[in-house]
């Protein structure tokens, strides 16, 4: 890969004593969908506003497609399409008027703006309600109108801040699909800030975990898991429907006695067993011998959930 299209180095932002962003380094390359994942208040929106030149950085360097947004905010806003969280429109105007206004603010003539707005409204599936007031739009329609607005300037980079907040499951699916399609067809670089890990997992090529103003981990999901759980043991989850406490106690004792087992935890009819074996035969053998019926046995793999909770458990202190 060549030079990154978004390059943040040692970015700081503090409000009084509170550090919203604390030494952020981030590189995003052209054509990537990058997921910026973090809980509310982690500093995602602040970072985005600094990248747009809408907020001043306390320290650090930002480079967006060769432009320094702190010095040249107007230029950078030509390159970035930004969909803020909780986007607000002029509710008294129709979707088309809202879109045309943004188009004209981006230097299009009235006719160009009209043509482009029409094409984009079709693209996001709003052409039937284009002349209704935005006040009557549903949340999902507004979000799609917002996406159309970011696209009217032909951006190189799309920044979406919590784009799926408040959408119903089908809405989320359609929206994410639309983003993926845009990324593929136009080589758009997408930065998606969210706290919805599953959506991020679904569409993003790379993910950055952002906690309390710091990027604690970065990479694709597998890399993150490897980084995180390299030192921990394989874990097996065993469920049982047995209510015989004696037998369960016996099984538990035998499991602990087993050499390869590191720890056993029994809770709500589930055993969580950490072991060093490369297969689960010895464990299954114990359940057979103690006559504890097993309803399921599962080798635990690590998804984004675990990664997320692993980091955010620490951060909540």
């Amino acid at each position: 890969m060549d030079t990154p299209i978004i390059d943040l180095k040692g970015l700081h932002k503090s409000y009084g004593k509170h550090k919203a962003v604390d030494g952020l380094d981030l590189q995003i390359y052209k054509g990537e969908i990058f997921g910026l994942l973090g809980p509310n208040g982690a500093g995602k929106s602040t970072t985005i506003l600094m990248m747009m030149g809408l907020s001043e950085a306390s320290a650090g360097h930002i480079n967006i497609a060769g432009i320094n947004p702190q010095r040249n905010p107007i230029e950078v806003k030509r390159v970035i399409g930004y969909l803020p969280d909780n986007i607000g429109f002029y509710e008294q105007r129709s979707g088309r008027e809202n879109l045309e206004l943004i188009g004209r603010l981006n230097g299009l003539s009235t006719e160009e703006a009209r043509e482009k707005a029409y094409a984009l409204l079709q693209k996001v599936g709003l052409d039937k309600v284009a002349d209704k007031k935005v006040g009557t739009y549903s949340r999902g329609m507004k979000q799609r109108l917002g996406l159309a607005e970011t696209l009217i300037k032909d951006p190189q980079i799309l920044i979406l801040d919590e784009p799926t907040l408040g959408l119903d499951p089908t809405g989320v699916k359609e929206f994410l699909h639309l983003i993926q399609e845009l990324n593929r067809s136009q080589q758009l670089t997408v930065l998606l800030a969210s706290h919805h890990l599953h959506q991020v997992e679904e569409v993003c090529h790379r993910v950055g975990l952002f906690v309390a103003g710091r990027l604690v981990a970065e990479g694709d999901i597998q890399q993150l898991a490897d980084q995180l759980f390299a030192n921990s043991h394989p874990t097996v989850l065993v469920s049982t429907d047995s209510t015989d406490k004696e037998k369960i106690k016996k099984a538990e004792d035998m499991l602990i006695a087993q050499e390869s087992v590191v720890s056993v935890d029994f809770r709500d009819n589930n055993f969580t067993i950490q072991h060093t074996n490369h297969d689960t035969l010895p464990i299954m053998d114990i359940f057979l011998r103690t006559q504890v019926p097993v309803t399921s046995l599962q080798q635990r793999t690590y998804g984004l959930d675990d990664i997320y909770s692993f980091y955010f458990k620490d951060s909540s202190i």
Binding site: M52, Y82, I87, R104, N106, G107, E149, K153
Partner: protein, 320 residues
């Protein structure tokens, strides 16, 4: 070379502001109130003046068109008094939610994410509102002139036109001051209700309570029966200057001098000053000189308010 002032996007924003105003209901209602009262007052003064139209060679005829705006038959106050009273309400209605409603509607971030300078949003609000005000008052004055010409057959002289034009400028500056004051509050406070109430409180204070306070002060400070001429003069001067702290007083001073060419001073004149003066109308430029301070003060107040809003707005964090 870098363009620091982007005229094109500015135009788009001003367009948007103007169409916003024209469509907004609160503006239409207030406009109707202002228009109804103004038209009523102008009509009543016109209809009484119409019955005793001066002949063209009469000395009075030379300023007939100015008298339409200051004349009152006693039932309704003249036009400029109405404007000094209701104009502020119009200005406040146009400004009080200009910025904070965009904050609350979260449309501000969206507009600022476009390639425009931050100040152009505020500038557009100001310019858009001023354009509207200018059109309203031009229309009112123009209509009245037209009706007066139609009814009397007289035509306004160049001097009258000039004076009316200056009157228009002063009126827009006066309403513009209230507009900018409420614009400042709309930048300062997040809630439109707060900024509206504070603006209206200030308006009420200057309209109703300020004259009362002045009369209390005047009563306590009034020189005795046997006070010297100088003492009385000093007292009058003092009362006049504190009265002129109110913007509506500045406006009324300005309009009176501009619309009544015979007025040659706004403060008491001594016998020495009057002696030898020829009781004739002042040329336009001389009238302008008389009200120069008042008009400058009005414009300065407007500019100061706008500068404060500009400063606060540019420093404000955009995060909603």
């Amino acid at each position: 070379m870098k363009k620091y002032f982007d005229l094109k996007s500015m135009r788009v924003l001003v367009d948007k502001e103007i169409s916003d105003y024209i469509r907004s209901k609160k503006f239409i209602i207030l406009l109707l109130i202002v228009l109804c009262t103004s038209v009523a007052s102008l009509y009543s003064s016109l209809s009484t003046l119409r019955n005793n139209v001066p002949s063209p060679d009469d000395a009075q005829a030379s300023f007939f068109f100015l008298r339409v705006f200051t004349h009152s038959d006693g039932t309704l106050p003249p036009f400029h008094v109405f404007v000094s009273f209701l104009g502020p309400l119009l200005g406040i209605a146009m400004g009080f939610d200009a910025i904070n409603s965009e904050y609350n509607g979260r449309s501000l971030t969206r507009i600022l994410a476009q390639p425009i300078a931050r100040d152009s949003v505020l500038n557009a609000k100001f310019l858009g509102a001023l354009t509207i005000l200018f059109s309203i008052f031009t229309m009112l004055i123009g209509l009245t002139l037209g009706l007066a010409i139609f009814w009397t057959g007289l035509t306004p002289s160049l001097q009258e036109c000039l004076r009316l034009f200056l009157f228009l400028i002063v009126t827009v500056a006066y309403v513009g001051f209230w507009l900018n004051l409420s614009l400042l509050f709309s930048v300062t406070w997040r809630h439109p209700a707060t900024s509206a109430l504070v603006s209206i409180a200030i308006w009420l204070f200057f309209m109703v309570f300020y004259p009362m306070i002045i009369s209390v002060i005047a009563k306590s400070m009034a020189p005795g029966m046997y006070a010297s001429n100088q003492e009385i003069q000093a007292f009058q001067k003092f009362i006049l200057s504190i009265m002129r702290l109110a913007p509506n007083q500045l406006y009324e001073d300005g309009t009176i001098v501009l619309l009544m060419p015979n007025v040659r001073s706004l403060s008491p004149l001594s016998m020495e000053q009057i002696q030898g003066a020829i009781p004739s109308a002042l040329p336009v430029w001389e009238s302008v000189k008389v009200v120069w301070t008042q008009v400058t003060a009005l414009v300065a107040l407007t500019v100061a308010c706008f500068a404060c809003s500009y400063f606060i707005f540019m420093r404000r964090e955009i995060r909603a």
